[in-house]
């Protein structure tokens, strides 16, 4: 139980992998041995690659009849002791929403890879977008918390998939690798290390699986078939899983703990990256995913032109990096948020900062070019001396 180092399944070295493939490699490295999925562009390559890799490590793969079945099978497998994964994109994610709430309620570790495409609805299947940023957090009904990570490169989707499994097991929560077509279908250098740090579940026989006295703590998770006589239910339940749907205190305590175990540990989960922030830039770019690469490229060009521009990159989206965003924005005159949606994360930042935040949205199914950001900042510099 807890964190430990293991020898990876993939021989160490340099690889040239697609983002989707690297994600599958990361999963196998982290100990994922169960995958249930349904084909969808641009996420199918994760599934196709993991099928091949499971041959080497006795993984169990099933292509289910739909995404509802996929996530249901994952939850069943997770309680049978698996570290499960699925990969999907917007339309599939929409179908999974009910059981994402179930997984949050039953504290079931899952890793869901969302290779975002341009929506809504079927939209542009082969084109990138970042339209699911709020859906992963709020898509299922009721109050709950999840974790979402946002990689910007193929190396990072490999590393973050490993981290996603560790966080899922550590916090007993669904974790999203919230990527996009831009990274999922990108091929880049990936360095695979010999050793991988993984988190192993604490089974703690006899202990209540749905309660801990530690405030905001995470209870141990036993497994089907070990004689524990587990009661797992999506209804309001007491520490041992007995349904208590008419007891208001039980519901309050349960929901508070589900939310608190993530919110109170935000500092352990949140991960960001910053560029050119030391001198208190005039313009702060806040970006994530593939768009952050355009933002970094733009920041470098603008810096060369003498403009004080900095970049804060969100590697974690949920829980939202509130403290870092507030601190980074403090000394900046303007905060600009380029993203492949109509301002989803921009609005989240606006909620935190007591001032206007500038949205630089793009929803044309293309990745954002650095020139768009460069021209936007140049223009602002001229019009707002």
């Amino acid at each position: 139980m807890g964190y430990r180092k293991i020898r990876g399944v993939t021989p160490p070295g340099q690889y040239f992998l697609q983002g989707d493939e690297a994600c599958a490699e990361g999963a196998v490295a982290a100990g994922c041995r169960f995958f249930a999925g349904y084909p969808i562009t641009p996420a199918s390559e994760v599934m196709e690659h993991i099928v091949r890799r499971f041959k080497d490590c006795d993984g169990v793969f099933v292509q289910m009849e739909d995404e509802i079945g996929s996530i249901a099978a994952m939850i069943g497998a997770s309680w049978a002791g698996a570290k499960p994964m699925t990969s999907t994109s917007g339309p599939g994610l929409s179908l999974m929403m009910e059981n994402i709430g179930y997984a949050a309620m039953t504290e079931t570790p899952l890793v869901i890879v969302d290779i975002q495409r341009a929506g809504p609805s079927t939209g542009q299947a082969t084109r990138p977008g970042s339209g699911d940023m709020l859906q992963v957090k709020y898509g299922s009904h009721g109050d709950y918390e999840i974790i979402a990570l946002s990689p910007w490169s193929v190396q990072e989707i490999y590393d973050m998939t490993i981290r996603a499994f560790n966080l899922a097991e550590r916090f007993r929560v669904p974790v999203f690798v919230l990527s996009d077509e831009g990274v999922g279908h990108l091929r880049e250098n990936v360095t695979v290390e010999q050793e991988v740090t993984v988190f192993e579940r604490d089974k703690a026989p006899g202990q209540p699986p749905f309660h801990t006295d530690e405030p905001g703590g995470v209870p141990p998770m036993p497994c089907f078939g070990d004689g524990e006589k587990l009661l797992v239910t999506g209804s309001t339940h007491d520490p041992f899983g007995y349904r208590k749907t008419q007891v208001s205190e039980v519901h309050e305590r349960l929901v508070s703990r589900l939310v608190g175990k993530i919110r109170n540990r935000a500092d352990e989960i949140v991960d960001t990256d910053s560029y050119f922030l030391d001198d208190g830039p005039d313009v702060l770019l806040v970006a994530y995913g593939i768009t952050a690469r355009a933002a970094l490229s733009a920041a470098k060009v603008l810096r060369d032109e003498g403009q004080k521009v900095g970049l804060l990159r969100l590697r974690t989206i949920w829980p939202f990096p509130e403290r870092v965003v507030v601190e980074s924005a403090q000394k900046c005159k303007e905060v600009v948020v380029p993203e492949l949606n109509q301002g989803q994360i921009c609005r989240e930042i606006e909620r935190l900062l007591d001032r206007d935040v500038i949205s630089l949205p793009q929803t044309n199914g293309e990745t954002m070019k650095p020139t768009k950001i460069i021209e936007f900042v140049r223009e602002r510099a001229v019009t707002q001396p």
Partner: protein, 181 residues
């Protein structure tokens, strides 16, 4: 050094695969490479492009902004992307049969009879992409010939590998002729 390559044509010509092999050859040379592609929902016949950026170090923006090298395998693709090439030193390689260059584009054009040779030598137009790519490598030296061959080994298997290995040799030969012009 950073080089941006755009390969374009229609679905089914191996446009994406050519990009993957070129990018893979880049990392075998010890470089950093980023390859991406764009295509419609149909598996065959629609417009298709593949982009490769090869650099000595990490690549901030992984897509092609202006191509140093454009490789065109269809007329519509050529027409769409021929203006998006670096004016100073950009070069265009095109399939001699499938693309007629626009005389108004003042860039070096390298016509390569890739499809014609693929049909003639292999009776298989599917290796035209490899013939053309090998010619590009031979002329520009963007990756080493050895890495290109090794990248084929790592990307393909079985009968495809053998045919493509021979196609590389044909492409290298064509490249050396093109170079002399």
């Amino acid at each position: 050094m950073i080089k941006q390559v755009r390969i374009c044509g229609f679905g089914g010509q191996g446009i994406v695969l050519a990009g993957v092999i070129l990018g893979h050859a880049g990392i075998l040379d010890g470089k950093y490479a980023a390859q991406s592609s764009s295509y419609g929902a149909e598996a065959r016949g629609s417009a298709c492009k593949s982009e490769v950026v090869i650099s000595d170090g990490w690549i901030d923006y992984p897509h092609v902004l202006k191509a140093d090298i454009l490789i065109a395998m269809s007329q519509p693709a050529y027409n769409k992307y021929c203006c998006d090439v670096v004016p100073e030193h950009g070069v265009i390689f095109h399939d001699e049969e499938l693309v007629t260059p626009n005389p108004q584009i003042a860039l070096s054009h390298f016509p390569v009879p890739a499809t014609q040779r693929a049909l003639q030598i292999f009776d298989n137009r599917l290796v035209a992409n490899t013939v053309l790519l090998a010619a590009v490598v031979s002329v520009t030296g963007i990756v080493t010939p050895d890495s290109l061959k090794l990248a084929l080994d790592k990307t393909l298997d079985g009968r495809h590998l053998e045919a493509n290995k021979k196609a590389v040799d044909v492409g290298f030969q064509l490249g050396s002729i093109v170079k002399k012009h």
